[in-house]
Assembly symmetry: C2
Homo-oligomer: 164 residues x 2
């Protein structure tokens, strides 16, 4: 039995006690969260979100690339969100390598160098500020007044705001 | 008080009862999930995940673009995951518009047409299969034997597998 099989079995239990069948498509709280994919960062638990509350966008690092700008434009323009919360975290994998070394290791193994930026970073607070700046400069995201960035401390469970 | 302020206050409560301070960086279950950002799709609750179990990657639609391929390469190559679960869902916002119309509406308002594909789709099962196919063809993602796709039914809470 694979891990996937086990998680699918868990989903049957979720459905058995499901009570959220009449929620609307637009997020009730009008907020979109962009967070790192890290396994220790439980966005719903941390922020006290319930089903239907917020859009949750996640990737390696919680960084802003074209795909996050696409998702935020859809979130705000079609589904009415107006606030954005960014969450990076301590002990992040993105702090453990460089783009150059990672992409060279792939080229050496596969024979092709990836055509994407790996988006590694060396300073957590600086990268949160960088992510805020990328959103603030994007003309396709209409609501940019409430864009706030945080560092989640995986050691303590605390959320610390980064002043951009 | 903004919604962001309220969610940050919730995070203080999370930290006050926090018990996950010694979890390692690599996901315990060795799995990465790619899901839609939809507010009704609580990935942790649905799959019975706990802090530390799995990478969670999310965007508008749960589609595979360059940024998801980047995140999956990092997840597998640097942090040891080997299984991938894709989750789209019923009543998805991505079924409600076309790329052409959405991008033209932005051009008409902003004066610039976005340089990204909006990734709208018309058939849920077909788009899950498309996402699986994009992963299967990516040379930078080493583990492509266990890539399974699902549709989450927001009306019932059930997860239905799409046979690719």
């Amino acid at each position: 039995m694979s891990v996937t099989d086990e998680l699918v079995a868990n989903a049957e239990r979720y459905a058995a006690s499901f009570t959220f069948g009449d929620l609307p498509l637009p997020p009730a709280r009008g907020v979109a969260i962009v967070a790192c994919m890290d396994a220790r960062l439980n966005v719903y638990g941390l922020l006290g979100l319930r089903e239907g509350d917020a859009h949750v966008i996640r990737n390696a690092g919680g960084v802003i690339t074209a795909d996050e700008r696409r998702s935020l434009a859809i979130s705000q323009r079609l589904l009415g969100t107006t606030e954005i919360i960014l969450i990076h975290h301590t002990d992040c994998g993105m702090l453990t390598f460089t783009d150059d070394a990672f992409k060279e290791s792939i080229r050496a193994e596969v024979g092709i160098k990836p055509d994407w930026s790996a988006e590694a970073f060396t300073d957590l607070d600086e990268d949160v500020a960088q992510s805020i700046a990328r959103i603030k400069s994007d003309p396709f995201i209409p609501h940019r007044d409430s864009v706030r960035g945080f560092v989640y401390e995986v050691e303590t469970g605390r959320l610390r705001e980064v002043k951009a």
